[in-house]
């Protein structure tokens, strides 16, 4: 079997510990013209599952200049149904073609007997569901020939039959499958607020040593039946201040990590999106400088 060489003139694959943004078609022309100094781009894998055309042409041009993170939104890892083998093949083909530095998917389900429901839906956390999710992650890592990252979800409801906390569930998945973790800090704020939990306690219980990428995004405000705050993971606005604060605390614990700004709806003009990624980099630099100073004080 012959292995085709990587496309010449492409930058290397690994994601640097810097800021990145989700790639939007409307921004590509300006990015290619200005070549901003940015760590990486991330794309939703399913948007590049056509055979050819402008979407692939744009992504090839971007990939030549920047490392890429491939983010799946349709594998339905958290479903009781078997994984879609055709979808795994499509993902494997994209991984081979674009050589992304990372591949990530969600602790969620999105397809069932009704078809593909186009949302990241919640599952109960039990020994039974843990076994299914681990089996699906094993199959995915086998099909792609590489480690994947699993992202913690935003949730609006819990399940009566859940017997394991989300953090313990994720930790056990990491232990059994060896997968890495994508920590979505906005999802931590959304889920802990929605369920009346403490986000710092969530970080304390989370297996942070396996975190290889961080997501940041904006949320929307709503209320539940009892009038309590209900945050919605909307990806339609700037990252909120207390999400930035929790991000800084996360960086203090795990060190600098590739950090993505997700802004998928009401997408702003390019400079606004770029400024959010710059703010993530400034936060990493500030936290790093503070911890170095602290180390210095201890040394003196």
């Amino acid at each position: 079997m012959s292995v085709s060489p990587p496309t010449p003139m492409r930058v290397t694959a690994p994601l640097p510990d810097r800021g990145g943004v989700g790639l939007k078609a409307d921004h590509v022309e300006q990015i290619l013209a200005e070549r901003p100094d940015l760590g990486f781009f991330e794309v939703h894998a399913e948007n590049y599952m056509g055979d050819g055309g402008p979407a692939h042409r744009r992504l090839e041009a971007i990939r030549a200049l920047y490392p890429l993170s491939l983010h799946g939104v349709g594998l339905s890892i958290g479903s009781p149904k078997p994984l879609d083998k055709d979808h795994l093949k499509r993902l494997a083909a994209l991984v081979q073609r674009y050589e992304p530095g990372l591949f990530s998917e969600h602790l969620a389900w999105s397809s069932h007997n009704q078809g593909f429901l186009n949302d990241l839906l919640p599952l109960p956390y039990t020994k039974r569901t843990l076994a299914t999710v681990c089996d699906h992650i094993d199959q995915t890592q086998e099909a792609l020939g590489r480690r994947m990252l699993l992202e913690n979800p935003s949730t609006y409801v819990l399940f009566a039959q859940s017997t394991i906390s989300e953090t313990d569930f994720v930790a056990e998945i990491g232990r059994r499958t060896g997968c890495g973790l994508l920590l979505d800090v906005n999802n931590v704020i959304v889920s802990t607020t929605n369920h009346g939990l403490d986000p710092i306690a969530y970080l304390d219980a989370y297996p942070l040593r396996h975190v290889e990428e961080i997501h940041l995004a904006g949320y929307a405000d709503a209320q539940d039946d009892a009038g309590r705050p209900l945050l919605i993971d909307a990806h339609d606005s700037p990252v909120r201040d207390h999400v930035w604060a929790l991000y800084a605390e996360t960086i203090r614990r795990v060190g600098p990590k590739p950090t993505l700004i997700e802004w998928d709806n009401d997408v702003p003009v390019w400079p606004v999106l770029l400024a959010e990624a710059r703010r993530a980099e400034a936060t990493m630099a500030r936290v790093l400088a503070a911890s170095e100073q602290k180390a210095l004080r201890h040394a003196v």
């Binding site: 399913e46 948007n47 599952m49 056509g50 055979d51 050819g52 055309g53 402008p54 979407a55 692939h56 042409r57 939104v73 349709g74 594998l75 339905s76 479903s79 009781p80 879609d84 055709d86 979808h87 499509r90 389900w109 999105s110 397809s111 069932h112 007997n113 009704q114 078809g115 593909f116 429901l117 186009n118 949302d119 839906l121 599952l123 109960p124 039990t126 039974r128 569901t129 299914t132 609006y156 409801v157 819990l158 399940f159 009566a160 039959q161 929605n194 369920h195 009346g196 709503a222 209320q223 539940d224 039946d225 009892a226 309590r228 209900l230 919605i232």
Partner: protein
Amino acid sequence: MPFEATIETFAQALSDPARPVPAQTRGREGRPDTRRFAVYRNNVAVGLIGAIEARYPVVRRLVDDAFFRAMAGAFVAAEKPRSPVLIHYGETFPDFVARFEPAQEIAYLADVARLESAWVEAYHAAEAPPLALDALGAIDPKDIGGLRFSPHPAARLLRFANPAASIWAAHQGDGEPRPPDVWRAEEALVTRPEADVLVRVLPPGGYEFARALFAGATLAEAAEKFSGEGVDPGSHLVGLIEAGAFQSLR
């Protein structure tokens, strides 16, 4: 409740607003919460309707937004995507529009939807260098009639009972659309020889000629299908090749 049954109940309740919020779900009061579950219902509906809006921008302009949302909403309630590859979702929307009772008085709406759907298929079709016109020059004239042509992966042929291609073209860009000069049935070719999708109205009768070639007929066989007046099959062939309709000949 077993895992499978929990997810099935959740999925059914998402797809059917008449069903109750699944009894296994919990809000902070320790019981099912309508507004919490509504977030998921809303995400599913808004996301899928958004996919239809993105694929059918001219259909949306031809009716008002509220009408389009209602029509797209009825479609997504009836037909969920069969695959997580949403760029292929909505290919059956034109047939739905054709059957959708409130849209019956806009006779051309389903035809415009067919054209927009073909445009998206062409946009995502495989890359292939189109057959160049020079290739014909290299053929011995006595062999021309026996030539067969392979269609380009992006090429799509469409036949409408209405001037759907002219209506579609008039709704590109932001200007005030003008009605077609002549109200007649149209035939169209959609191609993407390079990066851009092209839509061409075929000369009258050209559809049967092109369709025969696409199906593998020889040029001589296809020419018999050509019923256009005032245009000869040769110049029509040149037009098809120049539009990037073919990938190769043999």
